[in-house]
């Protein structure tokens, strides 16, 4: 008996997807040469889909900090913090994260995915309820499955539906935790957080916000959506990642809750995995410090996002009203999306092809993420490629593309 037989129906689907050119699930870069450029099939390619919002992966000081940490402390910790102990830098990073967010406690995980697995499976348990936005990231759904709480979903970004769900639970004695994201990763839309926070409070639920895509992006100091709309006091737990704005890998949770430190004794995705190596901790600390000190990074990011979003909009693509570094174009069919994505790669522009069911609707998306490190020329090159390809695929009136190029 072949245990993998159940996956066999995926083979023809993958082959059909790849027939148009490349396997969208396995893009192989020859080399990554900067925060915004890689070499793919021997060609210089603009990286417009890597969530490198602040472009700090090639920051000279972050790289130097990583190298020095490796020289001094070695390449890895070879185990968990429970078994092998914490390095001073693990504790320093936690103290710096707590200070950055103005919270009493911080806990670092080895990936952002594990931060959600850990917090969601531990904060609520049997008899409790976890109430998730329906468009939540896979790590939130998986964290929910790992624990024992009863899990219910509310309609994406609908405080009204959340209120109904909480009302139905009013006779439940257990704890309740509502989970939303700052910026949703597929379409770049933000949560109506003030309204959601009010509804959660009214319904007696704690509130967790995943700021993975909004940390370093939103808020005067880059603390995310909760800071941007001044509702931090109503948010009980913030989770996030180091793998986007901070340019490394890892995840965290910050909170003011009493006894937060006891989670280190019960949170399995924290306890039973190797801790982050010194090089990662060192670059993350340096990136956090730079992000906190340099608001110019965020200004450049938003300016680039606006330029790209307005450029696509002028061409005739619908990109949504909110300007966010995540900019998605919805296409009508899988064939069209795959063809468009391959043509963009041929033109030296890499972004994400997102296909249902990984998309919020039943339509495929071309998902771009803009960086502060993109040059204006890179942004304009990408816009021009969208215009040429959109026209050749019959998605845009040719005169619109001509007008755009003339402007």
């Amino acid at each position: 008996m072949n245990l993998l037989n159940k996956f066999a129906p995926l083979r023809p689907q993958l082959e059909a997807l790849s027939a148009a050119g490349r396997n969208p699930f396995a893009v192989n870069f020859d080399e990554i040469v900067s925060a915004t450029e890689g070499i793919l099939e021997g060609r210089r390619t603009i990286l417009l889909g890597t969530n490198n919002y602040l472009g700090l992966t090639f920051d000279a000081e972050c790289m130097a900090a990583s190298c020095e940490a490796t020289q001094r402390q070695g390449t890895g910790t070879t185990g968990s913090r429970v078994a092998n102990g914490s390095y001073a830098a693990h504790r320093d990073l936690e103290a710096e994260l707590a200070a950055f967010f103005g919270r009493r406690h911080a806990m670092v995980f080895s990936t952002g995915y594990q931060a959600n697995l850990g917090m969601l499976s531990t904060l609520v348990g049997r008899g409790d309820h976890l109430i998730l936005d329906a468009d939540s990231h896979a790590s939130i759904y998986d964290g929910a499955r790992l624990g024992y709480a009863e899990v219910i979903r509310f309609r994406h970004n609908s405080p009204e539906d959340l209120a109904k769900r909480l009302k139905r639970l009013k006779h439940s004695d257990g704890g309740k935790l509502v989970v939303v994201e700052g910026i949703y990763s597929m379409r770049g839309d933000v949560a109506p957080l003030a309204e959601i926070a009010a509804v959660a409070r009214e319904g007696g639920a704690a509130l967790m916000v995943d700021e993975a895509h909004s940390m370093g992006v939103l808020g005067a100091r880059g603390r995310g959506l909760a800071e941007a709309i001044d509702v931090e006091a109503q948010v009980d737990f913030i989770v996030g990642t180091f793998s986007k704005s901070l340019g490394s890998v890892g995840g965290f949770c910050v909170a003011d809750a009493d006894d937060f430190d006891l989670l280190r004794l019960v949170c399995r995705p924290y306890m039973f995995t190797a801790s982050l190596p010194p090089a990662v901790i060192a670059s993350t600390r340096q990136a956090l410090s730079r992000m906190a000190a340099d608001s110019g990074l965020r200004a450049r990011l938003m300016s680039n996002a606006r330029r790209f979003s307005e450029g696509l909009s002028r061409l005739g693509f619908y990109v949504g009203a909110e300007v966010s570094p995540v900019i998605s174009v919805t296409l009508d069919s899988r064939e069209l999306a795959v063809g468009f994505w391959n043509a963009l790669l041929d033109a030296g522009v890499y972004l994400n092809l997102a296909l249902p069911p990984a998309t919020p609707s039943d339509k495929p998306l071309l998902r771009a993420s803009v960086s502060a490190a993109h040059s204006l020329e890179q942004i304009d090159t990408a816009i021009a490629a969208f215009g040429r390809i959109g026209t050749s695929l019959g998605l845009l009136w040719p005169r619109d593309a001509v007008l755009n190029q003339a402007s």
């Binding site: 329906a134 929910a144 499955r145 009863e150 899990v151 219910i152 979903r153 309609r155 539906d161 109904k164 769900r165 139905r168 639970l169 006779h171 439940s172 249902p356 069911p357 039943d362």
Partner: protein, 92 residues
């Protein structure tokens, strides 16, 4: 809010609504949807469409179906039974 009507009528109403929803999503006639049809396999509805239909059914019947119970739903009958049992449960 409890729906005060005889259980059999209520079940018929739930079934009618579930079948209508599945017919719409799968673009096939409601008359061709049997109680023992497998929602994903026989009706060839993708999981995302099922989850969206469930959001609509939850709203209509004023219930929340916990995800672990959604995972147990395989056939049309399973979905009808799940909704019916949640309407009966206190606190829903």
């Amino acid at each position: 809010m409890p729906i005060l009507m005889p259980v059999s009528n209520q079940r018929d109403r739930i079934r009618a609504r579930v079948v209508d929803g599945l017919a719409e999503v799968s673009q096939r006639p409601a008359t061709g949807i049997a109680d023992d049809a497998h929602i994903l396999r026989d009706l060839q509805i993708d999981s995302l469409a099922v989850m969206n239909l469930i959001l609509a059914l939850e709203e209509e019947f004023d219930i929340s179906i916990p995800l672990e119970r959604v995972a147990d739903v395989v056939t049309v009958q399973d979905l009808v039974d799940t909704i019916a049992s949640l309407i009966q449960e206190p606190g829903q």
